[in-house]
């Protein structure tokens, strides 16, 4: 696996992420992996003990991960959300907007390309999970 990219200041969670079922079956795990077909809302009652949610991206075209990440952020989760799998540079901007803050791509991502992708758009049209101010708000103060 290529080097991970993190957009957090805290220390990375070293604990391996366990499956959602395994996580729910025990009290001690703090790192959990959500597959594309899993319902992220099952995690919501347990978020206080979660430090890392790794979301599997089986194919870059599979957009379920965006909804999963955003649901967790909307539930107040502030820990790490990592995208693991088929992460392309062209997805990173949308992923950041939906609450992902670390990336573990199967193929390497060039940090300069990622930075360029993240700074490409000067504005956003709508609210998401990143706190970016939508254009309508800029227009009306």
């Amino acid at each position: 696996m290529a080097e991970a990219l993190r957009f957090r200041n805290d220390d990375p969670v070293e604990e391996p992420a366990v499956s959602l079922d395994a996580f729910l079956a025990q009290d001690s795990a703090s790192a959990v992996r959500i597959e594309a077909g899993d319902d992220p809302r099952r995690l919501i009652p347990h978020l206080s003990r979660v430090k890392l949610v790794e979301i599997g991206i089986p194919r870059f075209r599979d957009g379920r991960c965006f909804t999963s990440a955003r649901i967790l952020r909307e539930a107040g989760y502030e820990g790490e959300i990592r995208a693991e799998g088929d992460v392309l540079v062209d997805l990173v901007f949308f992923m950041r907007r939906c609450g992902f803050d670390s990336f573990a791509p199967q193929a390497g991502l060039n940090r300069a390309d990622v930075d360029a992708a993240l700074s490409r758009y000067p504005h956003v049209y709508q609210h998401a999970a990143d706190g970016a101010v939508p254009i309508w708000k800029l227009r009306h103060g």
Partner: protein
């Protein structure tokens, strides 16, 4: 019409540069086509049989003259001097070079146009009633809502990699001129009994290989909450939809699998959640957008009579001109269906002529219809004759709106990699068979729609008469369908029986039409007679 401010312009400009970079990486071999494909599709760029095709967005089918002139310029400079209007009110160029596509997008950006989300598994360009702002029967102009939703759904981070495409249409009258219920999400502006504006919402429609007519999921969604409601629909679908079979990933399949009630229940639950997030656009933003769509300064005291002395002009008026809400004005439809032509095609010269007419006679406003025609929405009745003369000289004065020769046809096997059969020659042969205008007018409203494959881009499911091209043992074969409608009386057409070859299907169409003629009562359209008399009588007439 809507004008970009610095924010809108900055977003479109950034998109051009992003796509320029993506194209550079593809040409340099840093990306394979599998990776590039979804990126180019989100910019409307398809690889077809002979070349790339670029689909330019025309939001809610509204253009001004400088935009239409730019489309003409691009047609000359980068294509073969023409363009093709589509059933989603967009324009396609069929002979594009990949390396020039970023330059075309840059040119479009200079006139506030783009190709964003005209393809791919995203929220597509939003369509609307082509007579918006002019129709006598509308509650209000639906375009401010379409524009608000255009912005809200542009580069939506959660919904840019959807299971499949997602199409939205907005109308605001009882009459449906936008094939509303054939959309994934269909919005009709209504007023409740307190006089408040809101939306009747339909979900789960779509054509393709598994057609469904959208069902009414909500009687009334307050206007200010519509973005929340649409996001709720999208989230339920995005989360649940299958990802294992591209043919079963449209939202209509999920609605069918879950059932209408369960889908509604989940959407309502998600809707209540979205309302807590504060994502809806405020009234001030709606008001800002709506101000751009304020009615043009219609003159008052104009003559309401049309001088019908010229019989050819009178025929055109009868067929192409529709009542306008302002006295002294009319809506003029421009046919892009000349007999033997290619429906929806328009040359650069014709685009410029229409642009000139719009500027001079229609408050700089042109519309594109889902039936692949154009509209000058606000013409003074006293100017109609001059407009008609100019259209006639440009080969644009056919008087066949909604008649048997006003055929919708997809590009078919002449262009498209997905097609099984050609559509254009079938449309042309039908037109030639029924070219006589007296015969056409005698037959009245009759909507023929032709698709070259089961993806149904030619809307054959919604045709009074539909034709579906299939491949049968390596030869083109055409199935005939009857009884579809894309209007407010939406129905799905039914396959009549075994298919025909190209000439055979034209004969079969004629037999169906003769069956109508022999059964019709006074004032009955083809569709009315079909519904009254029933499928079997028509089948018997077709197959004997």
């Amino acid at each position: 019409m809507y004008k970009y401010d610095q924010y809108d312009q900055a977003m479109v400009d950034a998109r051009v540069e992003e796509f320029r970079d993506q194209t550079r990486r593809r040409i340099a071999g840093e990306m394979n086509d599998d990776q590039f494909k979804p990126l180019r599709l989100k910019n409307g760029l398809y690889l077809q049989l002979h070349a790339y095709m670029l689909r330019v967005a025309i939001p809610y089918g509204t253009l001004n003259s400088s935009q239409l002139r730019k489309l003409a310029e691009i047609a000359r400079k980068y294509d073969r001097g023409y363009g093709h209007f589509t059933t989603r009110q967009n324009l396609q160029y069929h002979w594009i070079k990949l390396e020039e596509a970023p330059d075309i997008l840059a040119e479009l950006a200079t006139v506030e146009m783009h190709a964003i989300q005209t393809s791919g598994e995203s929220i597509r360009n939003i369509s609307a009633d082509q007579y918006a702002g002019a129709a006598a029967d509308e509650i209000c102009d639906p375009r401010p809502w379409a524009e608000l939703l255009r912005q809200a759904t542009t580069f939506h981070p959660e919904f840019s990699y959807l299971p499949r495409k997602f199409k939205i249409a907005v109308i605001s009258s009882a009459a449906d001129r936008a094939a509303l219920r054939w959309h994934d999400c269909a919005l009709r502006i209504v007023r409740n009994d307190k006089g408040e504006e809101g939306f009747e919402v339909y979900a789960g429609g779509g054509m393709g290989r598994t057609p469904f007519i959208a069902y009414k999921i909500r009687d009334f969604c307050p206007a200010s909450q519509i973005f929340s409601y649409i996001q709720a629909i999208l989230r339920v679908w995005n989360h649940h939809a299958r990802r294992d079979n591209i043919h079963k990933q449209r939202m209509k399949i999920l609605v069918h699998d879950l059932g209408e009630e369960e889908f509604r229940r989940q959407v309502e639950e998600e809707f209540q959640h979205f309302l807590t997030l504060g994502t809806d656009f405020p009234q001030a933003e709606y008001d800002r957008i709506a101000a751009h769509f304020a009615p043009p300064p219609f003159e008052t005291g104009l003559a309401d009579e049309i001088d019908r002395a010229d019989p050819d002009f009178a025929i055109w008026v009868d067929q192409q001109v529709i009542a306008h809400k302002a006295p002294g004005y009319a809506i003029a439809n421009i046919s892009l269906k000349p007999i033997g032509g290619i429906g929806g095609d328009i040359t650069a010269e014709q685009m410029e002529i229409v642009a000139g007419l719009a500027e001079r006679y229609s408050f700089d406003d042109v519309r594109v219809t889902h039936a692949q025609n154009l509209v000058l929405p606000h013409v003074r009745k006293v100017d109609l004759y001059a407009v008609w003369e100019a259209l006639r000289d440009a080969g644009l004065a056919d008087a066949n709106l909604d008649l048997v020769t006003d055929v919708i046809a997809c590009p078919g096997l002449d262009y498209c990699t997905l097609a099984n059969a050609r559509s254009i020659p079938v449309a042309q042969k039908i037109q030639q068979r029924f070219a006589d205008l007296d015969r056409q007018r005698d037959l009245g409203e009759l909507k023929i729609k032709i698709s070259g494959c089961i993806n149904a881009c030619g809307h054959h499911h919604a045709g009074h008469i539909g034709i579906l091209g299939v491949d049968r043992k390596g030869t083109e074969n055409y199935q005939l369908l009857l009884g579809g409608s894309g209007a407010e009386d939406t129905t799905q057409a039914k396959i009549t029986g075994p298919g025909f070859d190209e000439d055979g299907v034209v004969d079969a169409v004629e037999r169906a039409i003769e069956c109508y003629r022999s059964h019709r009562t006074e004032g009955e359209r083809f569709l009315d007679t079909y519904r009254r008399v029933g499928f079997d009588a028509f089948k018997e007439a077709i197959y004997g």
